[in-house]
């Protein structure tokens, strides 16, 4: 009977930054610096910083930044934040958002993005499993990564932008 929900992404702009701040303040246990909010508005970040909508309600966010690594101008995409409001979890919003970000990364030419990686707090098993399902693998454990929240250690997870792994 029910029509499936519409999931859509839209870019972050100076105008809807207030919505991003609101989401971050509700979803994450830490406060993000003004620097963070400046970076998400960079033109090169536009394809990688998004609000996630469920039936036109803004309920989630994914924000990444590009880190140049190789001498050839190659780069890695670092996922700074990804989160969805509690009532809307387990409804494929996260994987849908990640799928679109990965597609953008794959089609990026300047710079070429070889890898996507992120930190996950070691207490957050659910998140780790989620990323592993998306083809990420644990590279290492970084001790004392978080300075102000407990536990302070974090896993680093990474995957190639193009992968043969999951559909």
């Amino acid at each position: 009977m029910r029509t499936p929900p519409r999931i859509s992404l839209s870019s972050i702009t100076p105008s809807n930054l207030g919505t991003l701040r609101k989401l971050n303040s509700v979803i994450f246990p830490v406060k993000y610096s003004e620097r963070f909010y400046k970076d998400v508005l960079l033109p090169e970040a536009e394809d990688f910083c998004k609000l996630v909508y469920y039936n036109d309600l803004p309920v989630g966010t994914i924000c990444c930044r590009i880190e140049r690594s190789g001498p050839e101008g190659e780069a890695k995409l670092y996922i700074m934040t990804m989160g969805v409001l509690a009532p809307y979890r387990s409804r494929s919003l996260g994987s849908e958002a990640l799928k679109q970000i990965l597609a953008s990364a794959a089609s990026s030419q300047k710079p070429k993005i070889t890898h996507v990686y992120l930190h996950v707090q070691v207490s957050n098993d659910g998140a780790k499993r989620f990323y592993e399902r998306q083809g990420f693998v644990e590279l290492k454990k970084e001790e004392g990564y978080y300075k102000k929240i407990e536990p302070r250690d974090a896993w680093v997870l990474e995957r190639k932008t193009w992968s043969d792994a999951p559909a």
Partner: protein
């Protein structure tokens, strides 16, 4: 040879005469500077030439030298009293000054000397339209048509004039001839199609159904009317009117199929069957519902066939229909669902049913094991829209606002990013009298989406309510032109809500000059809208859009009955009455400025000058810079001239006058009209206002005190002139029973409305009317305190009015006592707090609105 009868002083030698004709051309093509030079050339040789003098004057008025120009125009007329050019020019200058009656007089003079001048006739006929002198327009256009019968527009212009002059028959026969004569119309010609549609309208208005039908069917066949929908709508109506029900029904069904969301089609369909939705018997109701059932099956996706039955059902039948309607709205996530159904709330049974159904949905969606969560199989969005609906539902009633607020807390925890939730919270708080928190919440909504102008305007509106006038202007400035102040851009854009909101805010702040400035800008804007018609009298005929033109004319006639004008006029008139009663208000409207404030003001002025200069530079130094109309300078930026106008009551009468002959449904208008009339000693006007007010709401508290005032004033008057005294003596008994005393009438009124806060306050005010403020102070104060009794259903607005009455009129020593009692009576409100206390609430709110601050900052990102 000069034509006979031309005065010698008008005749110019050949060279100058040619030059004069060039001037006329140059003027037409707006080459004002060149034309001016040519004028001077002629005037050098013939300084007494009237027509050239006039033309020079006209050109100067177009070059922003109005006074000099006007002098010359007048001089020109004096020099050559029998020249149609001089009079025409004089008329044109009056027209630019919006002085239409004077302009018409000049045109009449001009036509005396050149009765067949087509330009003047055309100009005059359009001005006649502007001043609604349809007789004059008709005559001028009749002459024009005789002079130029081959011009198509002439026929149509005259037809419209006949139509508006209530000579539909003549309009019809003229148009019929026109349609017969016109040849060589290309296929699918939009303009010709419009004329035919207009002809159809005239036939319809004449109720010549058979002719209309014949005309329609002919055109359906030949496809010559392009607007098929309009044509078929006429066909359905005409068939209905002819009583050919079956054919009509078929036509209505066809229209509904084309647009199943058009209320008018359903009404037409039903009325063809003799059904009027507003007057249903039980039997017909069943039949009607059956018909709508059919439409619902046929058009399951449109809203209207589902919505109309909600208006005409009740009880279980209503419940059965409203449940799926609500369900569908929630599933689709329609934000306006509540607004759509609110009109049903006048019926308390329906309101209760909707509440029951919605509460049922809410329980269904909630997880049984954890009530704060949504059940797994339910959509979180649907649950959210349910909470949103219920929050609005409970906010309609002051006694359930706390329920609404707690639902909103749940909803905001669920999805804090939906601006609508913050908006409803703001509205609920506003209704609870907490304007400060309301404003903070509206601002929270705005911050979620800065490019949403609706949110921006709402937040500014809520700021105005708490007196944050400057802050509100800053907000509005985010969407207005950058080279001018927000207020002047919004005024240019004819933004009535802004003018009224800011006017109200200045009124509350006691700055009556600035309040008047805004309210009178409303009035001025309506003048502009009326003047905007001027171009359409000619344009619409030229473009053949006659239907739209006639509609516009009727619309314009009742323009000033629209709510913004009413609000602006009433508010301005109230201020003028206050100024008349208490001239010390002039001084108290202007706050004493400290030195630093003065400095700040100077600085602002300099900055503004700079902005203007920059704007000038920006336009570049083009040649026609001088010809471009210069930015109008505001002669009275602070409204001081308005405030100190010598006769405030005359001003009040002036803003109220345009509404007097219109259908006004607000009692406030007649109340303030009375206040103005009685002070101007216009007792018949006062009486008229009272009778109108009584017809709208006979037991209104404001009306009650005015009746007392009228009776008291009339009794104190001796020797009124005889026709007036007779009229008043005859009319008075229906307002004020002959056997009553003033005091008796006042207490009767209160006894008739026990427990009504309005009546109690009205009674207290009545005492002031009877005994004067000093004499009534004690008893009136006692009455005001009765408002606080448990059995009185006191509302916030009446409490605020009462407080103001105690403070300003009675100057009662118990004002503070009443204020704090109200504060206790309305625990959610902040409006009874002092300004400092309100500011403290706001600061605290804004602090707690940022829970972020307590979180650790992430430094590694």
């Amino acid at each position: 040879m000069a034509p006979t009868g031309v005065p010698a002083k008008r005749i110019l030698p050949q060279k100058e005469s040619t030059l004069f004709r060039t001037i006329l051309q140059q003027y037409e093509t707006k080459q004002h500077k060149k034309a001016l030079k040519s004028c001077d050339q002629i005037l050098k040789k013939f300084p007494e030439h009237g027509e050239t003098t006039s033309m020079k004057g006209l050109i100067l008025t177009n070059l922003q030298k109005k006074e000099e120009g006007l002098e010359l125009v007048k001089k020109g007329v004096r020099l050559d009293l029998t020249s149609h050019i001089c009079w025409h020019v004089f008329g044109l200058v009056h027209k630019t000054d919006r002085n239409y009656e004077e302009a018409l007089k000049c045109y009449a003079q001009a036509l005396r000397f050149d009765k067949d001048n087509i330009n003047i006739l055309r100009d005059a006929s359009n001005l006649f339209m502007q001043v609604r002198n349809y007789e004059g327009a008709q005559d001028a256009r009749f002459t024009l048509l005789k002079l130029r019968p081959t011009l198509r527009q002439g026929w149509l212009a005259l037809a419209v004039a006949y139509h508006l002059n209530d000579r539909l028959e003549d309009a019809q026969s003229l148009l019929m001839h026109y349609l017969r004569i016109v040849k060589n119309v290309p296929d699918h010609d939009v303009e010709h199609s419009e004329v035919m549609l207009y002809y159809l309208r005239v036939l319809y208005d004449l109720k010549r159904w058979n002719d209309a039908l014949e005309f329609i069917d002919l055109n359906v066949q030949y496809n010559s009317i392009i607007d098929r929908v309009a044509l078929l709508e006429y066909r359905a109506r005409v068939l209905s009117a002819l009583g050919r029900k079956d054919e009509a029904e078929e036509e209505w069904r066809r229209l509904i199929k084309q647009n199943p969301d058009c209320y008018e089609y359903y009404r037409g369909f039903l009325s063809n069957r003799g059904i009027d939705l507003d007057k249903l018997t039980d039997e017909i109701r069943a039949e009607t519902l059956g018909l709508f059932k059919g439409f619902c099956d046929e058009y399951p996706k449109s809203t209207t066939p589902w919505r109309i039955p909600l208006d005409i059902t009740s009880g279980d039948e209503f419940k059965e229909l409203v449940k799926p309607y609500l369900q569908k709205g929630l599933t689709r996530g329609i934000p306006s669902l509540f607004a759509d159904l609110k009109s049903l709330y006048v019926n308390s049974e329906k309101k209760a049913i909707i509440q029951e159904v919605m509460e049922g949905f809410k329980d269904e969606y909630r997880d049984q094991s954890n009530p704060s969560k949504v059940a797994d199989d339910a959509s979180p969005a649907e649950y959210l829209w349910t909470l949103y609906f219920l929050a609005q539902h409970y906010a309609t009633d002051p006694s359930t606002i706390s329920t609404s607020l707690s639902l909103l807390d749940t909803a905001l925890e669920h999805t804090p990013t939906l601006p609508e939730l913050h908006m409803i919270k703001a509205r609920a708080l506003k209704r609870a009298g907490d304007y400060v928190r309301a404003s903070v919440n509206m601002e929270n909504a705005r911050k979620l989406d800065l490019q949403d102008r609706a949110l921006n305007s709402k937040s500014a509106k809520y700021m105005f309510r708490v007196g944050m006038i400057e802050e509100a202007n800053t907000l509005l400035g985010m969407f207005t032109r950058k080279d001018t102040r927000p207020a002047s851009d919004l005024e240019d854009m004819q933004c009535f809500p802004f003018l009224i909101q800011e006017g109200d805010a200045w009124t509350r702040a006691g700055r009556l000059n600035l309040a008047l400035k805004r309210y009178r800008a409303v009035d001025k804007t309506y003048d502009d809208i009326e003047d905007d018609q001027l171009d359409f009298h000619a344009y619409c005929v030229r473009k053949y859009t006659l239907n739209a033109y006639v509609d516009m004319t009727f619309y314009m006639d009742s323009l000033r009955a629209s709510p913004p004008y009413e609000r602006g006029a009433i508010s301005a008139a109230r201020i003028y009455v206050r100024l008349h009663d208490d001239s010390s208000l002039v001084a108290s409207s202007i706050p004493q400025q400290s030195v630093s404030e003065k400095k700040a003001k100077k600085k602002a002025k300099r900055a503004e000058l700079k902005v203007q200069e920059d704007a000038k530079k920006g336009t570049g130094a083009s040649d026609d810079k001088a010809e471009a109309p210069a930015e109008k300078k505001d002669e009275d930026p602070d409204g001081m001239k308005l405030l100190t106008a010598p006769d405030p009551l005359e001003q009040a009468a002036k803003v109220l006058r345009p509404m007097e002959h219109l259908t006004v449904t607000s009692i406030g208008f007649w109340i303030v009209s009375f206040d103005v009339a009685i002070r101007r000693k216009k007792y018949l006007q006062a009486l008229k206002a009272l009778r109108h007010a009584k017809a709208i709401a006979f037991d209104d508290a404001q009306l009650h005190t005015r009746i007392l005032e009228f009776k008291k004033t009339i009794s104190s008057l001796e020797n009124l002139p005889s026709p007036m005294s007779t009229v008043i003596a005859e009319a008075l008994p229906e307002l004020f029973p002959a056997e009553s005393s003033l005091e008796g009438y006042n207490s009767d009124y209160m006894q008739k409305h026990p427990g009504s806060p309005g009546a109690i306050l009205g009674g207290a005010r009545g005492l002031v009317v009877i005994r004067g403020a000093a004499g009534a102070q004690e008893d009136a104060t006692e009455l005001v305190f009765q408002l606080l009794r448990d059995e009185t259903r006191l509302d916030i607005q009446t409490a605020l009015d009462a407080l103001q009455f105690l403070e300003q009129e009675l100057k009662s020593p118990r004002t503070e006592e009443f204020r704090s009692a109200c504060s206790r009576r309305f625990p959610l409100s902040t409006t009874f707090l002092s300004a400092e206390e309100q500011a403290a609430v706001r600061t605290e709110m804004e602090k707690s609105a940022a829970p972020e601050e307590s979180k650790p900052e992430l430094d590694s990102l």
